[in-house]
């Protein structure tokens, strides 16, 4: 592979802390099995960034393909703007002018080093699993409600370990790291549900107290919460990037984002969009298309297209594997693809030279929405059906539906054709 196809600048300015306090070198990375994972219990954020990430930086510089970067490679193969491309752009590097923009990057002299002496500018901070939602494609590490349900159904044997935020020593250590960074630019928070996680409010207050309101705050909310006191804090920041999680504007969203109700979710979505526009916030609808919702994602693209807000998904869902879009047999995958293609064709085709990587650029938001839709179309058309995922999927939805008293067939009656032969018994 060419160097430009593997290199990413992210390890020189970004890192992530996960809900259980483990560090990741990237918000998009996967984790390898049997890898020693460093935790805030054992090593400070500064030590991890400056020293433990040396190996990743060396591999990047050597042009070595990195297994953990596979999700970005997959996104690029379908024409979806990848995390790598977004991170490169934050350091001024454009793939269509790679050599010159790399050398001209403000980080060029940092790239020469592998042991860093600076602190991250860009963080993803997972605040724990405290969440009032129980999305069917989520997992207990990211939803306390789902964790309770999984325990009850014996789908897990013990609850996930508590969030690192609940340990005062670790929390203070972390806060001290971010407020001492002279180049701090972006903090993106996820949960759980950020708006009901006490640590989110604490961090906002701390940043305000330290006059760090020029740091951009990004967070994602599940459209099940509205909190004026948090909004009052957020309004003190110069820039807020707001992610609004919804899967479809149709009833199947209730099944996917249980126990959310689409009428309420839509009402809160509209409220956020109005509020965000009034305050000049950057907004994106955040989707996680699964076999359950992919047929209806055109409804989200349509809403975003008319509201002039972006649509962003971090990657194509891989875990849980039985939620992947390729669970759908070809007949249904093609139906979803045909519907999406029809929506794409109803819109103005993006300029082929307008290869905007900055998906948050308001002036190109519509062409970016269409590009994202096209990438999903590519995925649906090109990724083969994986029948081996179906038995586990049937087991899972049968178990969870029994507890919830619902059925996928209430929302997708035509899926009976592939669910029944696969062993689905609910009515």
């Amino acid at each position: 592979m060419k160097f430009k196809d593997t290199f990413c600048s992210s390890p020189w300015f970004h890192m992530r802390i996960t809900n259980q306090g483990y560090y990741n070198f990237c918000r998009w990375q996967t984790t390898k099995n049997n890898t020693l994972r460093r935790n805030i219990k054992d090593v400070t954020p500064t030590e991890y960034f400056q020293q433990d990430m040396v190996g990743i930086r060396e591999a990047m510089k050597n042009g070595t393909p990195i297994e953990e970067c596979g999700l970005c490679m997959e996104m690029e193969s379908h024409g979806k703007v990848s995390g790598r491309e977004k991170q490169l752009l934050k350091t001024g590097i454009e793939l269509d002018n790679f050599e010159k923009t790399t050398i001209a990057s403000p980080f060029y002299h940092e790239f020469k080093k592998v042991t860093s002496d600076i602190l991250p500018s860009d963080w993803q901070i997972d605040l724990g699993n405290y969440c009032n939602g129980a999305c069917v494609f989520c997992d207990p590490k990211h939803s306390s409600t789902l964790a309770g349900e999984f325990l009850k159904l014996n789908l897990i044997s013990e609850p996930p370990s508590p969030s690192w935020c609940s340990n005062d020593v670790q929390f203070d250590e972390f806060i001290n790291t971010i407020i001492s960074s002279s180049s701090l630019a972006y903090l993106h928070f996820i949960g759980g549900e950020t708006l009901i996680t006490p640590a989110f409010k604490k961090i906002l207050i701390t940043l305000i107290e330290h006059d760090l309101t020029d740091v951009t705050i990004g967070f994602t909310t599940n459209l099940m919460v509205w909190d004026d006191s948090i909004n009052a804090l957020l309004m003190k920041f110069d820039n807020v990037n707001l992610g609004l999680s919804i899967e479809t504007l149709s009833a199947v969203n209730d099944y996917a984002r249980y126990p959310s109700k689409i009428e309420n979710a839509k009402m809160i979505l509209d409220k956020w969009v109005k509020f965000g526009k009034e305050h000049g916030w950057l907004m994106q609808i955040r989707i996680t298309p699964t076999w359950i919702t992919v047929e209806d994602i055109d409804s989200v693209f349509e809403y975003a297209y008319h509201s002039l807000i972006g649509v962003e998904s971090c990657n194509y869902i891989h875990e849980p594997s039985y939620m992947r879009m390729d669970v759908l047999p070809s007949e249904f995958k093609n139906q979803a693809a045909d519907r999406l293609e029809k929506w794409i064709k109803s819109k103005e085709k993006p300029n082929s030279t307008d290869n905007t990587v900055n998906i948050r650029n308001p002036s190109t938001v519509r062409s970016n929405i269409i590009r994202d839709a096209i990438s999903y179309l590519s995925y649906l058309r090109r990724t083969p059906h994986d029948p081996l995922l179906i038995p586990k999927m049937i087991d899972f939805i049968t178990t969870i539906e029994t507890n919830r008293g619902n059925s996928i067939l209430d929302y997708k009656p035509h899926y009976e054709k592939f669910l029944r032969p696969a062993g689905y018994r609910r009515s």
């Binding site: 060419k2 160097f3 430009k4 290199f7 020189w12 300015f13 990047m60 510089k61 050597n62 042009g63 752009l89 934050k90 350091t91 001024g92 454009e94 002018n97 050599e99 010159k100 923009t101 790399t102 050398i103 001209a104 403000p106 980080f107 060029y108 002299h109 940092e110 790239f111 600076i118 500018s121 860009d122 002279s182 180049s183 701090l184 630019a185 972006y186 020029d214 951009t216 905007t356 990587v357 900055n358 948050r360 650029n361 002036s363 190109t364």
Partner: protein, 145 residues
């Protein structure tokens, strides 16, 4: 290029600046084109100019025009960096200080004065901003907005 170490030396990488001017009644005009302090043109009829600047250089281009009258003008037809148009696309970011007192950004110079585009930051960083590429993080400072 297989790895970071294959990148060329920073001093070897240049950006080609092409300047295309269309001049009416050139014989009457006293014109001088200055790029990063180097005079590219001060007389004659050749108006298609090219020069290289360093990959991390600021672009500071001045076009001085004097002895202008009602019957002549200088049109800035195209200024590009490595073939990517800068002017007139981003003409609104240029300054035209002239005797008329009208300093409205323009690519048609009709009065004695100096037309200037100064990117202040390295040209490629400036292009990152004007092309809507979002943040440009700096390891030592806050992001450039």
């Amino acid at each position: 290029m297989k790895n970071f170490y294959d990148l060329p030396d920073i001093d070897e990488v240049k950006i080609r600046i092409d300047i295309d001017l269309v001049v009416d009644n050139i014989s009457d005009i006293d014109m001088c084109v200055v790029l990063n302090g180097v005079i590219l043109y001060d007389k004659g009829n050749t108006i298609a100019l090219s020069a290289d600047i360093g990959v991390t250089d600021i672009l500071n281009l001045e076009i001085h025009v004097n002895n202008m009258s009602d019957c002549n003008s200088v049109h800035i037809n195209d200024i590009s960096a490595d073939g990517v148009n800068i002017m007139p696309t981003h003409n609104y970011l240029a300054k035209y200080t002239n005797v008329s007192g009208k300093d409205t950004p323009t690519n048609v110079l009709e009065f004695d004065g100096v037309w200037n585009i100064n990117t202040v930051v390295p040209l490629l960083h400036w292009m990152h901003g004007v092309n809507g590429n979002g943040w440009l993080l700096n390891p030592m400072n806050k992001k450039e907005k």
